[in-house]
Symmetry: none
Amino acid sequence: MSTPTETPSTPSRSRKGPTRSEVSKAAILEAARDEMAENGWRGFSVDSVAKRASASKQTIYRWWPSIGAMCVDAALALIPDAPDGGRDPQERITALIIPLEAAARTGHGHAVLRVALLAAADDKDAGEVWRAWVGRDIRQPLRMLLAELAAKRVIRRDFELDDVLEQLLGPIFHRLTISRAPVKEGFCAEQATAFLRTYAQF
Amino acid sequence: MSTPTETPSTPSRSRKGPTRSEVSKAAILEAARDEMAENGWRGFSVDSVAKRASASKQTIYRWWPSIGAMCVDAALALIPDAPDGGRDPQERITALIIPLEAAARTGHGHAVLRVALLAAADDKDAGEVWRAWVGRDIRQPLRMLLAELAAKRVIRRDFELDDVLEQLLGPIFHRLTISRAPVKEGFCAEQATAFLRTYAQF
Amino acid sequence: MSTPTETPSTPSRSRKGPTRSEVSKAAILEAARDEMAENGWRGFSVDSVAKRASASKQTIYRWWPSIGAMCVDAALALIPDAPDGGRDPQERITALIIPLEAAARTGHGHAVLRVALLAAADDKDAGEVWRAWVGRDIRQPLRMLLAELAAKRVIRRDFELDDVLEQLLGPIFHRLTISRAPVKEGFCAEQATAFLRTYAQF
Amino acid sequence: MSTPTETPSTPSRSRKGPTRSEVSKAAILEAARDEMAENGWRGFSVDSVAKRASASKQTIYRWWPSIGAMCVDAALALIPDAPDGGRDPQERITALIIPLEAAARTGHGHAVLRVALLAAADDKDAGEVWRAWVGRDIRQPLRMLLAELAAKRVIRRDFELDDVLEQLLGPIFHRLTISRAPVKEGFCAEQATAFLRTYAQF
DNA sequence: TATTAATCGAGACGGTACGTCGAGTCTTTAC
DNA sequence: GTAAAGACTCGACGTACCGTCTCGATTAATA
């Protein structure tokens, strides 16, 4: 996992009354994933999630700013942490995006990720949650890595970080959403290879 | 345009009653594009389109199997025909995908294409319409072109057609949907260049 | 039958083209009766009648001012002519209303009459058609008969014709519509008897 | 009034969430009466009632099994309780049915009652609601009264309760629905008189 | 220990939209 | 000229959800 929503860093617990029920939260996210996989984004409904999780709609609206944000959260919970990449440039780039491949290859992860991407593209709040996660877990480490590779003259310097991000993520997103084809093992490694060939220092 | 909806193979007026009103069809697609740009995919409503087009919902459901299919049709009408590519391999590849760039750079084309992509990813019928268009206007010509380039030893032979398609289309789709950044002029040309570098014959 | 709508008395056949198709009319009324019996008044639809009769909706609207009027026509076609009443006052009164009883006791006549009454009560045109028929076939003969009976001192003179009509017709209409109980043989005779007892000359 | 809708046999607030909004209920019935008077039965629409009452359609369907049942409820709310009849047989019979006359003579009561009767005749649920009310407020007291009068030899014994009911109610229903004539004061008293003359013990 | 504030489930509420059906009109082809 | 076929706009159907609100029950810090 990657701590998608900020847990409020345990702020001294000053309020009266009961605190947030983590068991409710988990049940809601679990139910949300099932509903996402079954009904897609437009067919997704808060009522169904609440009923399936035996939760109240109010509880959902209390903790997420929009249902799209909840969908993204539910999907992010499926994405494992990035592994250590070793020393090889291709492996280090692959390591940044392979958690997505891993999530897409487990259970209904493919469908859940698809709906999360649709939510991020269609809903303001969901988009912010998604881009915040990508920024922290992929974009920022990628920026460091590319700077290092450029300094070592492994790759050229004339690239736009966001263009690279799109070339690395675009293909897998296309596969998850439009073509819906299964994500083969090694798919992300291929993208990393393609990137290095494209930007290789000649 | 690229004749998105099939013209009926029997052009001769054989049935009795009245025929499809082309005025209505145009008004509906126009209204659909406006609604798509304004409200996104989940916020898109048939009622609004019908009202804006002064059309009946029945008329919409009569001619499209689902609202998603109509959205894809509405977007496809924005995409111009592919230009002639000349002789240069990079230009010939670019020519296949540049109509998408052109559509994304005109008026509300960016938003309309985004919603069409979301519809294609979220709705079965819409996905079929979209993939049918891609298959005819991009995938099939691309297959021919790649076979020719491989025969001339410009590119390697060990590629999967669908992987290439995803590498060419994925980045622009990501930009249209997730990052929502404007599509710069020459964006598609860059993808073609990247592809040729990746698959260059060494 | 009682010639509910005026057939134009075979007027010289001067126009071109085919004249009104009597076979169409019969099919429409037959289909209408079936639909009335199956779906009631609020559930009755012109589309269904047209489809069942293999007729065009236009044909229906061409010949009846409203669907209610058509329903009343369809029901009136079920009502036989009044029999000759003989000399007995009770029998003569019974004879005026017994056609309704007869119609209500055949096939789906009960349901058809119910819907016709609902149409007559709910639709302006239907009401006029119904009241025209009642006026000609019941009210007018009843007026003559009551005048004769009053002259012979069989009944009192202080009655309102319309009150009498309501006392004679109200019970059978109530049975057809609200209670939906079967109309027993002799039901109308009982009403006639009750009327004579009520207005008997003492 | 006569408590048309069943008060729930469990008066104690046992369930969790909110209870039925009586404000909404009153607004809906009021709006329904207006719509009934304006548009009749076939022209009556739930959408219009909801809009006029500033209520949601869902709220209507939550509490009534059908729109017809709601129409009957709306009309029953106009009918006052039966007065005390005194000792005179004619007055005691009149007292049972005079609430209908009273309702029919106030404001748009005539039209509202008409539509309620049409609903009761055309819609299963509405018919049940109507017959339940008639059974409790008219038929049952009438049965007791007639038994008493028969025991006192005021009337004959050979009558069918439902036939009597039809003779008492049929005329006023005919007037409300088919003839649409105003209900004169004393109309119900006349029916009671007619009944007593008809069934008088000779 | 009692009070109090926040949480939770359940679900009613006013609304908007769904996809279908029907009304009444109009247009086209067949006879 | 009449009829079948059926497309058209418009409006209503009964259902599903949205996001908000209210209710009784529960839970934990405060008094």
